[in-house]
């Protein structure tokens, strides 16, 4: 069993739900990213999702697009990511899950990528890889004992649930809406009825992501899911408060509030 799944067992035994915040690697700057990472590490995160910037993020809305482009403009790449985490890994207790589009990983070569990634990252999310296309990727992930996360979306048909579960050694990422990442004021009520169907066919942890933007939503969905993922709303907060002197403190308060 990988580290992600172990942690879910632990949470389940305590009757707790996972809180999974997201940051874009290298945003707003590499230095600020490091500081934000430490904030999340000390603010009750169960896992931290790190988004690796890509030039063409087709599953992302404007907020994550901006953060990715900013980081890319500052020269972020995989070499920098690995050397960064080599340096800071021992300062962080929270398991890390990398979210990257497939091309940078494919281009690096799967072996090369996994060799570098496995001591530093506990999980991987590839938003443009379906289990059907992921045979080689899944084999390597297993060899290197990194947990994998695949998606179920509102359009996913029941006949694929078990395929997705088998590919997801970490957890299943349930996408709340048909759409790209970005905060939503309201989330569709059909989520819970669809989740029921997912639960009937699977027994792995299922976490909800895309669109969660406030505490009411967070609280509501923590009741039903094994965890929640919050991304765009955090990046938005960073963009809005970055110029302020106590922006890290504000960020921490915001994260604690979201998760309270």
């Amino acid at each position: 069993m990988g580290k992600i799944r172990e942690k879910f067992e632990e949470l389940r035994n305590k009757g707790k739900k996972a809180f999974i915040p997201y940051l874009t690697f290298g945003f707003p700057t590499l230095k600020d990213f490091e500081a934000l990472l430490y904030v999340l590490d000390s603010a009750g995160s169960d896992f931290i999702e790190i988004g690796f910037p890509f030039s063409d993020p087709i599953a992302d809305g404007p907020i994550i697009q901006i953060s990715s482009q900013t980081a890319l403009d500052r020269g972020v790449n995989f070499l920098k990511l690995f050397s960064f985490f080599k340096r800071v890994k021992r300062n962080i207790n929270t398991p890390l899950i990398l979210m990257s589009y497939y091309n940078p990983i494919y281009d690096m070569g799967l072996d090369n990528f996994f060799k570098k990634a496995h001591p530093l990252l506990e999980g991987l999310i590839i938003p443009d890889l379906l289990p059907e296309e992921g045979e080689d990727f899944l084999k390597k992930a297993k060899t290197y004992n990194i947990d994998t996360v695949f998606f179920i979306s509102p359009t996913t048909q029941e006949e694929r649930f078990s395929l997705i579960e088998r590919a997801s050694s970490g957890f299943i990422y349930y996408i709340s809406v048909t759409g790209v990442t970005g905060p939503r004021k309201s989330l569709p009520s059909s989520i819970l009825s669809h989740l029921k169907k997912v639960r009937k066919k699977t027994s792995s942890p299922v976490c909800l992501g895309f669109g969660i933007s406030n505490r009411v939503q967070a609280r509501k969905f923590k009741k039903y899911f094994d965890g929640i993922i919050v991304g765009s709303v955090l990046i938005k907060k960073i963009i809005e408060t970055y110029h302020r002197k106590n922006f890290l403190k504000e960020f921490k308060e915001f994260v604690l509030w979201l998760n309270s």
């Binding site: 809305g61 990983i105 059907e132």
Partner: protein, 388 residues
Amino acid sequence: MSKKGYFGEFGGRFIPETLEYPLRELQEAYFKYSQQKDFKDELNFYLREYAGRPTPLYFAKNLSKKLGLRIYLKREDLLHTGAHKINNALGQALLAVRMRKERIIAETGAGQHGVATATVASLFGKKCDIYMGKVDIERQKMNVFRMQLLGAQVLKVEGGSQTLKDACNEALRDWVTNVRNTYYLLGSVVGPHPYPLMVRNFQAVIGREAKQQILKREKKLPDYLLACVGGGSNSLGLFHPFFKDREVRFIGVEARGKGFLSQHACSLIKGRVGILHGSKSYVLQDRFGQIEQAHSVAAGLDYPGVGPEHAFYKKIKRAEYVAVSDKEALLGFKMLSETEGIIPALEPAHALFYLRKLAKLAKKNSIVIVCLSGRGDKDLEIVQKVSS
């Protein structure tokens, strides 16, 4: 083509989970309807009565004499809306109607595919939104106006390179959001399966006609087929029906833009295998796997990727790929205008220029079919600007 949507090792479906079902639905609809007689009849009707098929295979006498080749032009420029894009737009629109989608979206670079899509949307009474990069909106203004006249909304894309690649990103994001009521009418042989296969099949009418026409005219197959390659649809449309005729050589012309040391759009010649817009093929990318910006004076070739079937043709050496620069394409543009009285679009002007090089390499009086994929009206302003 293997079952999973691959051409050899290229193609596939590298897309967000939300698009898995709509793509499967599309694939099933395509395989079902495209086999049915009423679909084929209806498509043939519109291709003939509305778009103006078959297009002539014109023997370019003056140019042939000048270059010492036997040059035939497949006149896709004479089609309604002015380019080959209408072949595919009509085919997919008939699918959209059968799938009961209320809204059609598309990406466009040169605006030709956008115009073709806006046209079929108007014809079949569908709501239509076209994504187009800011740079392309500025350089292909007339096509923007045409789309608007046809009742489509042109949505400006300001991310990234503000060209075709980013228009594609935005169209995919729209589709992920509005999958249930929206049909994504992709304009070239790129994207996730089944698009590369489907678009190629809708465009293969070019090659099927050309084959009949040349056999009637010359009593034999051509020595060369020549076409420009952006995403690769007019070229594959011409090439595919000749695939098994091994003696016919295929030449795809990519855009060398400002040159290999500067910016270009030669994904097949200079790219590496990677994943862009849902399929595995050759991609222009930096050494860390980020997609690079392409450049071509021809907006329709200004794209850092290429259809997976071309990657396969390259791998098995069925086609040869060459590069023609912005400057050379302008010479090709003038050459055809002055010798044959036909003003080509800047995209096929790349292929036309290559005739001059081919004339030096090929046996005298070799038979060459060039796909004249579109007419030059949309490019007059650019050519005027560059030449003055």
